[in-house]
Symmetry: C2
Amino acid sequence: MLAAAVRLFNERGYDATSMFDIAESLGITKSSVYHHISGKEQLLQMAMDRALDGLFEAADEVRALDVPAPERLERLVRRSVLVLAERFEYVTVLLRVRGNTEAEQHALSRRRDFDTIVTDLVKQAQAEGGVRPDIDPATVARLILGMVNSLTEWYRPRTGGAEAIADALTRIAFEGLRTE
Amino acid sequence: MLAAAVRLFNERGYDATSMFDIAESLGITKSSVYHHISGKEQLLQMAMDRALDGLFEAADEVRALDVPAPERLERLVRRSVLVLAERFEYVTVLLRVRGNTEAEQHALSRRRDFDTIVTDLVKQAQAEGGVRPDIDPATVARLILGMVNSLTEWYRPRTGGAEAIADALTRIAFEGLRTE
DNA sequence: ATATTTACCGACCGAACGGCCGGTAATCAA
DNA sequence: TTGATTACCGGCCGTTCGGTCGGTAAATAT
């Protein structure tokens, strides 16, 4: 049911999706939906949590690695792409939330925490050397995460396709487009 | 009035913004708003057009340049950042529409046209040399534009700040983060 | 066989929304 | 000064929405 709701949220937007739509897509009535959940916002909350939990798990795994900071950064970027691909619809919901309710604001706050983790990693990588130090680390983190998050706009999950995208993205981010 | 509406659209989302909200922010009543415009959707239409017109103007200007394709690509990326900064709130509205109405679908279609322009430019740049040919041009275009468009999520317009962001972005995109 | 829990439904409610209409006051052209 | 145009308003309408409630039928436990 969460999956059905999230699919509709992404098709038409959260506000534009009615509880009737969700019920209809499950072949039951609106009243029956309320037998299983407490309200529309709970569905949103569960979806956002599923996405955020994946991202923080990735951050925890990478933090534990005993490799130089630039490589930890690259690993985290790559893992973020894979999480986004695995939990595609949940991450898409998360990235569209604007903070209209308390639950949404809490999700935004957790997103900012993740941004901070990446920013700190960029900072370390610049200090250790291996990542260009001439751009503000917060800007680097936002631009790279922006590129990752933009996948929700056009990437469509297929088995195995995520690694190819992760390769392309990390190549652009770390090596750049320019040859010679 | 368009400016006031667009500001609210971005604060709370298009659906979550009522005509009463727009009227209130202007110090007039809802009825008075309808004296000036035909409906809510017209406001959205005008905002999206303002953003798209800016992007296509940039594309036209760059197309007329007599420089190698890789440099035209870099110029277009940079100009896109500047358009996004100039028409920030309008572009933000544009990038959030999901195609729920006919007008939104038309805007999405124009966005795809712009994507195609960038993709073709990447293709030329790869053929001429100077841009790495080992990544699918459509993927390159989407990732770079994704990085540009992600600015709507955190960049806040200040006079002069756009060039610094454009520099950082094009440096990452063309030279990459890695040193040595 | 009976009691209890689970899944479901139809009917309804109050609120909010986009939009419309008839009318009034200010502005402006002649 | 008069006539027309423009800007504005209060009040209303039909619809849709999230959510509730009382009740039924099936599943499950004892």
